[in-house]
């Protein structure tokens, strides 16, 4: 199977996973291992000064093994997202960013206008931008056209587990853009991942589907296998769907004919 190529990097794994919401750090580490993921996401937050912030995750992550992709989660404006990306670059010495600019607290859908603004600014500032976006072909085309390294349309709202809500849009996006297409958000179980890969997407990014499962380490392995199976099926060229039957056994030599 081909490798996943994004910007100047190649990955054997087409599964990108988040580091949030695991029952404990040990389960997180084991889940990352079981998933086979090579790229993982982190957030940028205020450091824990006087018990009023977050603990760094860096001591838990083997940076020789995992490529860290910082996100701009929690940003609602281009200004916030650009600053967060710049802080991430300073903190992690990477110019890669998973760009999130959120428009609504309940759905966590992107604010498209601010997302496009932030993407443009970050590309000018030499970032490798992987934007989380809606499953809207027009927005994906704009993001691809301005120089993003990939587009990452949601399958369904973040953490919803609803799977790929609009596979037809994903298919249209696949046909319209040449850069890597990664489903980011909404995946719930292994079949969702396999289905996404069979649509021809290049990878799947998930967090809650694994971290929130009853047995995260097992689910991480399930996702790994599903993504491999889905990609292999896609590369194998499936049969077309037919309305009527197409006999699989030969007609010639039938008795009583």
């Amino acid at each position: 199977m081909n490798k996943l190529k994004i910007a100047d990097r190649e990955f054997n794994s087409r599964l990108i996973i988040g580091t949030s919401r695991y029952p404990n750090p040990q389960v997180m580490i084991e889940s990352l291992e079981a998933s086979g993921a090579e790229m993982i996401t982190v957030s940028i937050r205020r450091f824990n000064l006087n018990g009023n912030g977050q603990e760094s995750i860096l001591s838990l992550i083997d940076r020789e093994k995992y490529f860290i992709l910082p996100n701009t989660a929690g940003c609602f404006t281009a200004k916030e997202a650009v600053l967060t990306a710049q802080l991430a670059r300073e903190s992690l010495h990477t110019n890669w960013v998973k760009l999130e600019v959120i428009g609504d607290d309940e759905t966590l859908f992107p604010d498209v206008a601010e997302l496009l603004k932030a993407a443009e600014q970050l590309i000018k500032d030499n970032f490798v931008v992987l934007p989380y976006c809606n499953d809207d072909p027009v927005t994906c085309k704009k993001l691809a056209g301005m120089g993003c390294a990939a587009v990452m349309p949601l399958g369904a709202p973040i953490g919803s587990g609803m799977g790929i809500r609009n596979p037809y849009n994903i298919q249209i996006i696949r046909e319209m853009i040449d850069i890597p297409l990664i489903i980011d958000a909404g995946v719930g179980t292994a079949s969702d991942s396999a289905f996404a890969m069979e649509l021809g997407v290049d990878g799947v990014l998930m967090n809650t589907a694994i971290a929130g499962a009853k047995h995260p380490v097992q689910m991480a392995r399930a996702m790994k296998l599903a993504i491999e199976a889905g990609r292999l099926a896609y590369e194998s060229g499936r049969i077309p769907k037919r309305l009527y039957a197409n006999a699989s056994s030969p007609i010639e030599g039938m008795i009583n004919r």
């Binding site: 937050r45 205020r46 000064l49 603990e55 200004k79 710049q86 802080l87 300073e90 903190s91 973040i158």
Partner: protein, 68 residues
Amino acid sequence: MKIKINGIEKVFQNEKTLDELVREELNGNGSDGIAVAKNYKVIHRQNWNETKVNENDEIEIVTAVQGG
């Protein structure tokens, strides 16, 4: 001198450089993975020593944490 650090107002008697401020706030924790912004602008680590903290400055001291 009144400044905001990670959203919280603090008062200092003396002038400080950003480097001095960050060391005090980190309180013995290493600065690996730490990034700092002053008034919405990232200040690179190599410039912390030359950057003075002024009245009403808003300082953000951040790090990488768990995230999806």
